[in-house]
């Protein structure tokens, strides 16, 4: 803690270009420096000093220990109060803002917002119960439905283990049935494309072309990501580049951020060509998500692909909520809407 007088001297030093000499500055600094003998590397001297004042050192450490305990007790109490407050607020929001599986209602919730993310990304976590996969897939389906209803064209779902990628057809079924519970008959449903890096686009032949006037113009591209799309992708890229360089096909000087960006973006924007129909691979999405929603007790990226999030806004639903459950938050509609409101720089209010 620097005293005010010294602070003023220090500021004058910079402002008026009336530089203090090195010794003057050192004199100014002296009172604030810890005793060199306190430092761990001076073991011999420290030992002798602590021998001189063993009682004081002991008392000091005891006081610190005590303060640590007290602070954490009070902090814990405060946290619990804040958590219960937020839990109550959360419940109220959950009641006030309920979607009732009506796209119109969801659209109304986001109507007043200044901006909407073009590409929304979500971090979900697999729980530990037996039906964890079913719960996870249901969450993805719900999110897909909310995103389409609020007019977000691209949704990417990150789940660390990548279990979702192994059951794309089932997930597709689930999402379509969820959409039908929101939108009704298949002809009114938005078009859905589902894919993961290194996987072909999965979409069933849509029956909507029977009556184009009635069909829903909205569409949703659902992208599945896992931790292998993060650092592992860079490792693969480096391997390829190293091999090319060893063969003299590329020189290390050619590796620029633009090249890396193009290569890394390729993976998420251009899915692998499916064998049966070539035209299905026409997916163009914005590789950089605008908003990243973290459904968890605190903001941790947990291996999310690093390259594209440099300008992504992040919002953690559990930021202020309960971190006690430990497993990560349930995916609930009010959290989703709150994230969108936050992104638009708006405050959520009680009452629609």
């Amino acid at each position: 803690m620097v005293s005010h007088r010294d602070q003023e001297v220090f500021r004058e030093d910079f402002r008026n270009r009336r530089r203090l000499s090195a010794t003057e500055r050192e004199a100014l600094l002296k009172p604030y420096l810890p005793d060199p003998s306190d430092l761990p590397q001076r073991k011999s001297r420290k030992a002798s000093i602590s021998r001189k004042t063993p009682v004081r050192t002991f008392l000091k450490s005891q006081i610190h220990q005590l303060t640590y305990t007290i602070i954490h007790i009070f902090f814990g109490i405060a946290i619990r109060f804040i958590q219960s407050y937020h839990a109550v607020v959360d419940r109220i929001f959950a009641i006030v803002y309920y979607h009732h599986r009506t796209p119109e209602l969801i659209r109304k919730d986001v109507k007043g917002l200044k901006r909407l993310p073009e590409h929304l990304s979500v971090i979900l976590s697999l729980r530990k119960e037996d039906d964890a996969l079913a719960v996870l897939m249901d969450e993805v389906a719900e999110l897909a439905a909310w995103s389409t209803a609020s007019g977000i064209p691209t949704l990417s779902v990150y789940e660390k283990t990548g279990i979702l990628k192994s059951c794309i057809p089932t997930l597709y079924e689930l999402v379509t049935s969820k959409l039908s519970s929101y939108y009704g008959t298949p002809s009114q449903q938005p078009k859905l494309q589902l894919f993961a890096p290194h996987h072909p686009v999965y979409q069933t032949s849509t029956p909507t072309d029977t009556d184009p006037s009635k069909s829903n113009p909205e569409s949703l591209t659902l992208l599945l990501l896992s931790s292998t799309d993060g650092r592992e992708t860079f490792v693969d890229l480096t391997k390829t580049l190293a091999e090319m360089s060893q063969n003299g096909k590329v020189s290390p000087q050619d590796i620029t951020p633009e090249l890396v960006d193009a290569e890394i973006s390729e993976i998420t924007t251009h899915p692998a060509q499916s064998d049966d129909d070539g035209d299905g691979a026409s997916v163009f999405i914005k590789p950089e998500p605008d908003l990243l929603l973290v459904f968890g007790p605190f903001l941790k990226l947990d291996g999310y692909p690093p390259w594209h999030i440099r300008l992504t806004e992040m919002y953690c639903t559990g930021d202020t909520g309960n971190g006690l459950t430990g497993y990560g938050e349930a995916v609930e509609y009010q959290g989703f809407v709150q994230g969108l409101w936050h992104f638009a720089g708006a405050q959520m209010r009680f009452g629609r």
């Binding site: 402002r15 600094l29 610190h64 999030i309 992040m314």
Partner: protein, 402 residues
């Protein structure tokens, strides 16, 4: 308006009065000492955002705002190092920031130069406290005079150990990742030095003609059992040249490795066999390389600018902007806790930082008590298992087996 000004002046006077100042400084010391009792993050990163906005809202010049920001930095560094944080990384200047007004860029550069050269003047003082300053980023974009100050400060403190201050000076994370990829690639595309068998090591000054004769004699008997001897000797060479033990010599594993590298290996194989040890000049046509398959996540991490630092534990960004803005993307996307605070950087102090630290300590001690509850730790385990799988290369074992 007038009353609030009077109030703030009164408050300032009150806080500046000696007894209060004394009490507050002792309170801070007590708090820091208390924080030290629990687990402390080893590596903390700060995005010092909000200097300009602070200056604008308080009606002072932008440059003055940056100065206040520097004071805040000094305050928070004191807290960090006293409480036991080993490495602090700060985002001082982005490559993108060169696009700002020339006046501001110049003022920032001037400030950096002055502070760094002042630091260098106190070399012995820094020595005794063991803080090491490092500047990360594209130093080639700096002006020569600033660069000189940077180099002086870095050299001065390079011998100090223990505590590290990383200043990301003209830095973006994408640039860092690209550089890491590029460095890895150029390292792997540097041909390995030809094998130096003990009899022909570079330290023994034998006559060249004599050696040439020896080769002739050796090659005739060598050809019979080339496979095993070259395999083992190359392996030894790989280990001594690169101190990373996982590295493997390309062609020794080529015949066993995956299909993508197979043809390459066959090309290389005969080339190195005919020109075994000593024909140094001629064997550049078919040089031996370290296999790219040995590149792992760790290899890339070792090429990042923060390679010797512990993993990033906490990242704090002030001013309420909830983006990373191209900072520490590689380092923070795994287990880092990211915190966005709604204060301007010049106002940032221990009081804002304490809740962050307490929350972190709470979470860490909870997950230590009960690793199953958090779900973080088994995840980590599986990652490391994966990594191990990637590192252990079957060709190596097979060669050794032979």
């Amino acid at each position: 308006m007038a009353t609030s000004m009077h109030l703030s002046r009164l408050r300032k006077w009150f806080l500046a009065s000696p007894p209060i100042e004394y009490a507050i400084s002792h309170l801070r010391e007590l708090l820091v000492g208390a924080l030290k009792q629990g687990p402390v993050p080893q590596h903390v990163a700060f995005v010092m955002d909000g200097n300009r906005r602070f200056a604008r809202t308080h009606g002072i010049e932008t440059v003055e705002g940056h100065n206040l920001g520097f004071e805040a930095l000094a305050r928070i560094l004191e807290v960090c190092y006293k409480s036991g944080v080993k490495v602090v990384t700060i985002y001082a200047f982005s490559i993108e920031n060169f696009k700002r007004s020339k006046f501001e860029v110049d003022a920032l550069m001037e400030m950096a130069k002055v502070k760094l050269s002042q630091m260098a003047q106190h070399g012995d003082l820094l020595d005794s406290y063991g803080a090491k300053v490092r500047v990360l980023g594209r130093l080639d974009l700096l002006k020569p005079d600033v660069l000189e100050a940077v180099n002086r400060a870095v050299d001065m403190t390079s011998r100090n150990g223990d505590r590290v201050l990383n200043i990301c000076f003209p830095y973006t994370s994408r640039d860092e990742i690209t550089t890491a990829v590029r460095d890895t690639v150029s390292e792997y595309s540097r041909p390995l030095k030809p094998i130096c068998s003990p009899s022909t090591g570079p330290r023994t000054p034998f006559s060249e003609s004599h050696i040439a004769l020896n080769i002739q004699a050796q090659r005739t008997e060598h050809n019979s059992d080339t496979e095993s001897t070259s395999g083992s000797s190359e392996d030894g060479n790989g280990n001594t040249k690169q101190d990373r033990s996982r590295n493997k010599v390309y062609e020794s594993g080529s015949s066993f490795s995956s299909s993508t590298t197979l043809h390459l290996g066959q090309q290389d194989g005969p080339g190195t066999k005919t020109s075994t040890p000593l024909t140094e000049g001629t064997d550049t046509d078919n040089p031996a390389f370290v296999s790219p398959e040995t590149i792992s996540r760790q290899t890339l991490t070792d090429h990042m600018l923060t390679k010797d630092n512990p993993p990033l534990d906490v990242l704090v960004r002030t001013s309420g902007v909830e983006r990373l803005s191209d900072f520490m993307l590689w380092q923070c996307h795994e287990d880092t806790e990211i915190v966005f605070l709604n204060v301007m950087w010049p106002e940032f102090d221990l009081w804002h930082f304490i809740p962050v630290l307490l929350g972190w300590q709470r979470r860490i001690s909870k997950s230590k008590q009960n690793p199953d509850a958090e779900g973080d730790f088994d995840g980590e385990g599986s990652v490391s298992a994966e990594e191990d799988d990637g590192i252990i290369l079957r060709p190596d074992n097979k060669v050794k087996g032979m």
